[in-house]
């Protein structure tokens, strides 16, 4: 079952990260163009669907593992989201922000290993 657990953890992570990027794009778009347009609505819908998938997979995992063991995997999302925000959304990444994100990720991984 461990391989299956890994797959589910991975899918819940990927869907979550993708949702965050899509939602940020949608909200950024809404500041300029408002919310009554198909671009905004479709992005939010996709984001919500992805987060829902992630949610239910997490709920399945929670029935099998301690929360303090599972939760840190979501912590890996910090470094993924920070990097992808820079690459995909063209946000400025300072050295400090990058190191901060790395430390958070390292800490979270350490929590999951212990």
């Amino acid at each position: 079952m461990t391989f299956l657990a890994f797959v589910f953890i991975l899918i819940s992570l990927v869907t979550f990260v993708a949702a965050q990027l899509i939602l940020k794009k949608a909200m950024e778009f809404s500041t300029a163009q408002g919310m009554r347009n198909s671009y905004f609505v479709s992005r939010v819908v996709v984001g919500v669907v992805l987060m829902t998938v992630s949610f239910f997979l997490t709920l399945g995992l929670l029935q099998r593992f301690d929360l303090s063991y599972l939760y840190p995997f979501q912590g890996l999302s910090v470094i993924f989201i920070t990097i992808l925000a820079a690459v995909v959304l063209k946000e400025k990444l300072s050295m400090r922000l990058t190191i901060g994100a790395l430390l958070i990720t390292a800490g979270v991984v350490l929590v999951s290993m212990s």
Binding site: Q20, L59, L62, S68, V78, L97, S114
Partner: protein, 134 residues
């Protein structure tokens, strides 16, 4: 970070509210999921059977609240700043597991928690400065 509202509409306050909602929802989800756990049942991998627990429904309400505040936060704060900061829950959740759920925290785990706090401080400090100037 253009013309941010103050008071209740302050995005930093909304970020804090979002974090508290996520924290409470995680603990409720764990309790709810444990309540109805059916690990031998394949369908339970989808988590759908979790809906049988009222605690899970409370958690869902909190998740929706955190989601709405989070969308609001995204309007004003870059994702590369807001998201790392929102991970303060990675400190709160293990602490909550320890206090409320009776899970154990090893020395190594405490070290991990300390690293997260250090990383959060790094991300948060330039923001505090930025806010002072405004």
């Amino acid at each position: 970070m253009q013309n941010r509202p103050s008071g209740f509409g302050n995005p930093w306050l909304q970020l804090a509210i979002s974090v508290v909602c996520v924290f409470a929802s995680e603990l409720l989800l764990k309790r709810g999921a444990s309540e109805v756990a059916a690990p031998n049942d394949a369908i339970s991998w989808t988590g759908i059977n979790g809906l049988a627990s009222p605690l899970v429904w409370w958690a869902i309400v909190l998740i929706i609240a955190s989601f709405i505040t989070w969308l609001y936060v995204l309007r004003y704060i870059p994702l590369s700043v807001a998201y790392p900061l929102s991970r303060v829950v990675d400190v709160l959740v293990p602490l909550g597991c320890w206090i409320f759920l009776g899970e154990l925290i090893s020395t190594l785990r405490w070290c991990g928690i300390a690293l997260v706090i250090f990383g959060l401080a790094l991300v948060a400090k330039p923001i505090a400065k930025m806010e002072e100037r405004l």
